[in-house]
Symmetry: C2
Subunit: 216 residues, 2 copies
DNA sequence: GCTATACTGTGAGTGAATTCACAGTGTGAT
DNA sequence: ATCACACTGTGAATTCACTCACAGTATAGC
């Protein structure tokens, strides 16, 4: 069973997610057919790239009528949402953690979310419609609710510990916001979102780069 | 004056920032000389990659003694911090915005930071040691304080407006957290941090990927 | 002083991701 | 019915980032 989804590169997946989001938006505006360049321009990629991506996932449009928005959304979703993640376990209920809990509660009420924090004042309470537990309760809670993705929003020095606990509790994917490289078993997928690094990066390119990108 | 800094790719800059961070850490541990593999492993890159990067920026180590940590930090910094960003202007004082203000106040007290929000309750106040202004005051504040980088932490539907205002107020770099592609003049550098997308990406790879990455 | 060693610096090679460019095709206009 | 057009699907070309592999060299040990 050679699932085509396993052949997707990280970049390809990112683009597919972006396409889907854009398509949903278009659909709500009552636009049910879309051309590769309509999808490409706002996402900052070339039309050829879009066509190539859709080819890879085996979706076919029609010349002179483009792609069917609804069908394409369904097709992308069938690849991306094939396996259920169960829910998310977030460690570190600071500002960033709350921002994400907020987002999840608002945009994805269908997902189960559990929050964890060292601070006993936070634990036991309910933040943004989601129970907050003590760190020690993690394994128990996760096994029971079968959550497969962990979100690390603790300070750098607590990140490795949080990650280890999450992995031991059975997650197989981590979204790490701490500016640290997590050491985890190879089977666990780690996605790093290093905000501090990005901040420094913009600062650099804002002033160093001679315009090479084209937009607008 | 062909500045070597202008030849750096986005990836290279990201790595250099990571190297520098790691070097500072090592230095604090009293380790003043470092080999390419010491720098590579924890950052998840190959030693060859490190050597190549340092070659590109024209830093030279010595066989059998490696690179001088302090000198390397200085060298990297001379490239990355060549031009002063002046400071940061953040729009959208929600949870995410506060998380970033927090970080900046704590880690980079040397930067000037101004916050902006539509909510008049927030405006006028002081959050994490940083004045919060009304949106309309932006142009005035920024011109006066010459801030060159904008941070967009508002909801998706307000992002384009925030970006436009920031650009008009003179920023030349944007760090955008809204899940939207900003339309700005080509001279402005935009760095997107799409947390929702990353979340979907982890969810996908957590369950789809057959281990290919090697860590630990 | 001489030698073995473990590193650096780098030309060449590899592989992936993106773009080019064009043949094929369905649609709307005439 | 025919034609012109603007799009898709895709092999080939290109670009880019990364890795290999080895020659060159400074140090530590003898």
């Amino acid at each position: 069973m050679p699932d085509p989804a396993d052949a997707l590169s990280e970049h390809a997946v990112e683009r597919l997610i972006a396409y889907r989001r854009h398509l949903r938006q278009r659909l709500m505006q009552g636009c049910d057919r879309i051309y590769s360049h309509d999808l490409a321009k706002p996402e900052g990629v070339t039309p050829a790239q879009v066509r190539r991506d859709l080819m890879t996932i085996g979706y076919t449009g029609s010349p002179a009528r483009g792609y069917d928005a609804k069908g394409l959304i369904t097709h992308i979703s069938s690849l991306l949402d094939a396996r259920s993640v169960g829910g998310f376990a977030l460690v570190g209920v600071g500002h960033l953690g709350r921002a994400i809990l907020d987002y999840l509660a608002r945009q994805h009420p269908e997902y189960k979310v559990a929050a964890f924090d060292v601070n006993p004042d936070k634990a036991g309470g309910v933040t943004h419609g989601c129970r907050c537990y003590m760190l020690d309760e993690m394994k128990q809670v996760l096994t029971q609710q079968s959550m497969r993705v962990g979100i690390v929003t603790v300070p750098a020095d607590a990140a490795q510990d949080a990650a280890t606990r999450l992995v031991e509790a059975g997650v197989c994917g981590l979204l790490n916001f701490a500016p640290v490289r997590l050491r985890v078993p190879a089977r666990v997928y780690v996605e790093n979102v290093d905000i501090a690094l990005r901040l420094e990066k913009v600062a650099f390119f804002a002033l160093a780069s001679r315009p090479k990108e084209t937009q607008e």
